[in-house]
């Protein structure tokens, strides 16, 4: 008898399919049971821990907590402040998207209706409004005995908004107003019950005393009242280009480099702080420690430092404003008394973002950022590193000195610089300039170390003649350049690696002779 016949095959197939079907049925049932067992954790009803990311961090300063009723507890104040800011955040988001998400959580039943009406009206009329508030100075007026009700006055709230209709920008408006707010504690949330816009209060004049080493008068920068001409260089350690404060941060390397710089008769360096690298709105303490070490070394070597903030940051949207403000605030206020810092350079070549991010956006961001920096550090100068002399007149009235980057033909140097000196009546710094010594197939064997030397020789002659402040690009050739900097193609990248006065083996190139004057 044949062992394998049709009948046996059928039997086997039948049993097998039965097993397979059973397995899948069991799995399916298990999934259904599993699904039915999931759901919100019961404790979530109590809103005990509403985890939140930092999405909205305008400057908040409680001017007074005194009130005739109950004493405010620190813990409650933190919760109240957070929920109050969220109430602004959800309102701003609602006006931007015409969507009422989140409003239930931060406005009481009666109050939220007003916002719903606004949203409905704006949706019907295709109006969207991007908003952010910059500053809040709440003053507690009343905190009830049972801890369920507060009233406070939020003085001089600065609101900045961009108004669109039919997706077209109508205008941007900055408005200052005082708000009187009543909030109730309802199921774990402080919710807005009453809200009242009022006339702003009279601004109190700032009385902070400044303690400046570097000052500016006319076209001249002064150091302790002595005229100071910046003879500087853009600096990255050789092996950590665009990553000064990264893993390879080494005190000795930097000290040795400073020695080279000092000996080369330079007096200033320019460094870069990356927004993401330093932790965005929540500054990473370790990075601050490294920055302090760096600045202390510079101070010891008697070098002035121009610190460029917001490197690799290119989102200027209103949603992000308050976060960038906190970033800058933490850095500049920490180092406001540091003697090594000459100036804060708010952003490197922001005009390159004009096209993609909107000139208006970029300029208003810079404008407000200047205010934040000056408020937190009145001691140091402020500038912006524009990529050419034409754009360098933007916001010139707010700058202490004008910085621009010169990569044009040498013959234009005097014209461009003098034009800026004349039009802005402020000191002008040629904050970047240089040529690569790279001569390869990607630039038709155009550059060479000799040509680079000649270039710097000529430039230094102009600087000496006109007493211009300059900062060359850059001390070292870099073995690695990140893609974000120049681009990913070899003809873009290779060029960028060879701008140094010292090559990547640590040997001085001929140009080194003309590093200063």
């Amino acid at each position: 008898m044949k062992l394998i016949n049709n009948r046996n095959i059928f039997k086997a197939a039948f049993i097998l399919s039965f097993i397979v079907i059973s397995v899948f049925t069991m799995l399916g049932l298990a999934r259904i049971l599993d699904y039915l067992n999931t759901g919100a954790d019961r404790t979530s009803m109590l809103h005990l821990e509403t985890e939140s990311e930092d999405v909205y961090l305008p400057h908040v300063n409680w001017t007074s907590l005194e009130n005739p009723a109950r004493e405010m507890e620190k813990n409650t104040l933190g919760k109240l402040e957070r929920d109050y800011l969220f109430s602004w955040y959800v309102k701003n988001t609602a006006l931007k998207t015409n969507n009422s998400e989140g409003i239930d959580d931060y406005y009481t039943a009666n109050t939220r209706l007003n916002l719903y009406r606004t949203i409905k009206y704006n949706r019907e009329h295709q109006i969207t409004i991007e908003n952010t508030t910059i500053k809040h100075s709440p003053d507690l007026e009343f905190y009830s005995e049972d801890g369920q009700l507060v009233v406070f006055t939020d003085k001089n709230v600065i609101e900045y908004q961009k108004v669109y209709q039919n997706k077209e920008l109508i205008t941007t408006v900055q408005d200052t107003a005082t708000y009187k707010v009543m909030m109730l504690l309802e199921d774990g949330f402080w919710r807005v019950r009453h809200f009242l816009k009022m006339q702003p209060e009279v601004f109190v004049a700032d009385t902070t005393k400044t303690n400046q080493i570097y000052t500016v008068k006319g076209n001249q920068i002064f150091q302790n009242k002595v005229p100071y001409t910046i003879k500087g260089i853009n600096y990255y350690p050789k092996n950590s280009a665009w990553d000064t404060f990264g893993e390879l941060f080494n005190k000795d390397t930097i000290a040795a480099d400073f020695e080279i710089i000092k000996k080369a008769k330079l007096n200033t360096i320019r460094i870069f702080i990356q927004y993401g690298d330093f932790g965005k709105a929540k500054i990473i303490p370790e990075k601050m420690k490294k920055l302090k070490t760096f600045l202390d070394l510079a101070e010891a070597k008697d070098l002035a430092v121009v610190v460029t903030l917001f490197d690799f940051y290119s989102d200027y949207s209103l949603d992000n404003w308050t976060l960038t403000h906190r970033h800058a605030e933490q850095i500049v206020s920490t180092f406001k008394d540091h003697k090594a810092i000459l100036a804060w350079d708010m952003k490197n070549e922001p005009n390159l973002d004009f096209e993609n991010r909107g000139k208006e956006n970029v300029l208003s961001w810079l404008d407000h950022m200047e205010t934040v920096i000056k408020e937190n550090d009145p001691n140091h100068l402020v500038t912006i590193g524009w990529s050419n002399s034409v754009e360098a007149t933007n916001l010139a009235y707010k700058m202490d000195f004008i910085s621009y980057h010169f990569y044009n033909d040498i013959i234009h140097l005097e014209y461009e610089t003098n034009q800026l000196l004349k039009s802005t009546k402020k000191p002008v710094v040629i904050q970047e300039f240089g040529v690569p010594s790279y001569g390869g197939m990607w630039n038709f064997w155009e550059g060479s170390i000799e040509k680079q030397a000649t270039y710097h020789q000529k430039m230094q002659a102009y600087f000496k003649k006109n007493n211009y402040s300059f900062m060359s690009w850059t001390l070292y050739d870099f073995p690695h350049v990140p893609d974000q900097v120049a681009g990913k193609w070899p003809w873009q990248k290779n060029r960028q690696t060879k701008f140094g006065f010292i090559d990547d083996k640590g040997v001085n190139k001929p140009a080194f002779k003309y590093i200063s004057n």
């Binding site: 009723a69 006006l95 009666n110 109050t111 007003n114 916002l115 009406r117 606004t118 949203i119 009206y121 704006n122 009329h125 109006i127 409004i129 908003n131 007026e141 009343f142 009830s144 005995e145 049972d146 369920q148 009700l149 009233v151 006055t153 609101e159 908004q161 108004v163 209709q165 920008l169 109508i170 205008t171 408006v173 408005d175 107003a177 708000y179 009187k180 009543m182 109730l184 019950r193 009453h194 809200f195 009242l196 816009k197 009022m198 006339q199």
Partner: protein
């Protein structure tokens, strides 16, 4: 042919001309004047801002920032007159409204007006009372917060009078308070008597509902305890009842029902026993089982952390001074009893009898049996007790008797 070409070109030409002309007019900085002089409006009433301009075509937009929103208004240029009607949703809520006149993305004019609460509409009162219960005394208070609004839910202007009333027993107090920061409020202090206090508010013609706050008695003061029992014998069966005096707070109010009293008992041998009871009408009644031997209990009552009593002493007399026992079945069976109580009655079942088995004055084992009908019987099984002699110590109802040495057969 030329004519035909002309026909097709001319409209295009005119269109261009028109566009240029229009842009020319738009480009010039037209001046605007606000004709509306009123800068304060009542909520719910129509509001319109009227501007005049020499331009007959300029048509700027009005951007509004209101307490509860922001929006853009458009209107028609009617012979140099522009009327912006404020939508109803922005008219009914109070506050300063900032406006910005915008043309070609430029802010040409700005200003603001104010909307005040509509006092002609019925007042609505919102009240918050807390905490909802108080202790008696003079330092405790509950806070009444009243927020009077108009019918559009706008808080009334500052200095609106709110009357806050409270009633306690015969006593009715009425106070006038002015609103400030939306609210009028008052601390209503507790009384020395416990009970219910009613609070209400009124503003203009509107009266609130009544709010209740409970004045609870303060924590109790020290108290006394007493005891009672069926008899004073230590029979291990009856119950002694411990009773506190009425526990009062310092103002003479009976403490709240359910106040837990701990009765702590110290025996003669310094062993601690505890029994608990909650108060009803200020009195807590605890129960304590009689000991089964002569003892003296010292009992003290506590309301933990708050109040205590002075100790009382309770003496328990012994039930018997001696008992009988007998050996049978070759001394293997020991029968204790019958145990007789104070009236010669058989003791209740369950009296503990302890038998200590000694061999040459050394304790080998302790057996415990409870009496049945006054008798407890021990049996020493030969396989377990193989020695030739044993002595016994029998204890019951606090009395210990030692037997003589008994001889046993051994195989």
């Amino acid at each position: 042919m030329i004519k035909k070409a002309l026909y097709s070109v001319l409209p295009v030409l005119f269109l261009f001309l028109f566009v240029f002309a229009a842009s020319k007019i738009d480009d010039e900085r037209t001046s605007f004047r606000l004709q509306t002089t009123q800068d304060s409006f009542v909520a719910g009433k129509p509001i319109a801002l009227t501007f005049s301009t020499p331009s007959l075509s300029a048509n700027p937009q009005l951007f509004l920032i209101h307490t509860y929103g922001k929006t853009v208004l458009n209107t028609e240029n009617n012979n140099g007159k522009l009327v912006y009607k404020i939508p109803a949703i922005y008219r009914s809520k109070t506050g300063v409204v900032s406006w910005y006149l915008i043309q070609n993305q430029e802010k040409i004019m700005s200003g603001n007006f104010k909307i005040v609460p509509n006092d002609a509409t019925p007042t609505i009162l919102e009240n918050y009372l807390g905490p909802p219960s108080l202790l008696t005394g003079t330092e405790h208070f509950t806070m009444m917060v009243a927020i009077p609004t108009d019918s559009y839910d706008n808080p009334k202007q500052d200095n609106t009078t709110v009357v806050i009333k409270d009633q306690f027993l015969e006593d009715i107090t009425t106070t006038e308070r002015k609103t400030d920061y939306f609210i009028a409020w008052k601390n209503i202090y507790s009384r020395t008597k416990s009970g219910k206090m009613l609070i209400s508010t009124a503003c203009n013609a509107t009266d609130s509902k009544e709010f209740e706050t409970e004045i609870q008695p303060s924590p109790g003061e020290d108290f006394k305890i007493s005891f009672s029992r069926p008899h004073k014998f230590a029979d291990g069966n009856q119950i002694t009842t411990l009773e506190t005096s009425t526990i009062l707070d310092k103002y003479g109010n009976i403490v709240g029902d359910g106040t837990l009293v701990t009765f702590q008992v110290t025996t003669q041998n310094n062993i601690l026993l505890k029994t608990y009871a909650a108060t009803i009408n200020g009195i807590a009644i605890g129960q304590l089982l009689h000991p089964d031997h002569k003892d003296t209990y010292t009992v003290k009552g506590y309301v933990t952390g708050i109040a205590e009593s002075k100790p009382v002493r309770i003496d328990y007399n012994p039930l018997i001074d001696h008992f009988t026992y007998k050996f049978t079945e070759k001394n293997r069976q020991i029968t204790v009893g019958p145990l007789r109580s104070f009236m010669k009655q058989i003791v209740p079942d369950g009296i503990k009898v302890e038998l200590k088995i000694l061999y040459k004055k050394e304790l080998i084992e302790t057996k415990i049996i409870e009496t049945q009908k006054g008798i407890a019987t021990f049996y020493l099984l030969p396989p377990f007790y193989k020695k030739s002699e044993y002595q016994f110590e029998i204890t019951t109802l606090g009395v210990t008797q030692k037997t003589e040495i008994k001889k046993y057969e051994t195989n």
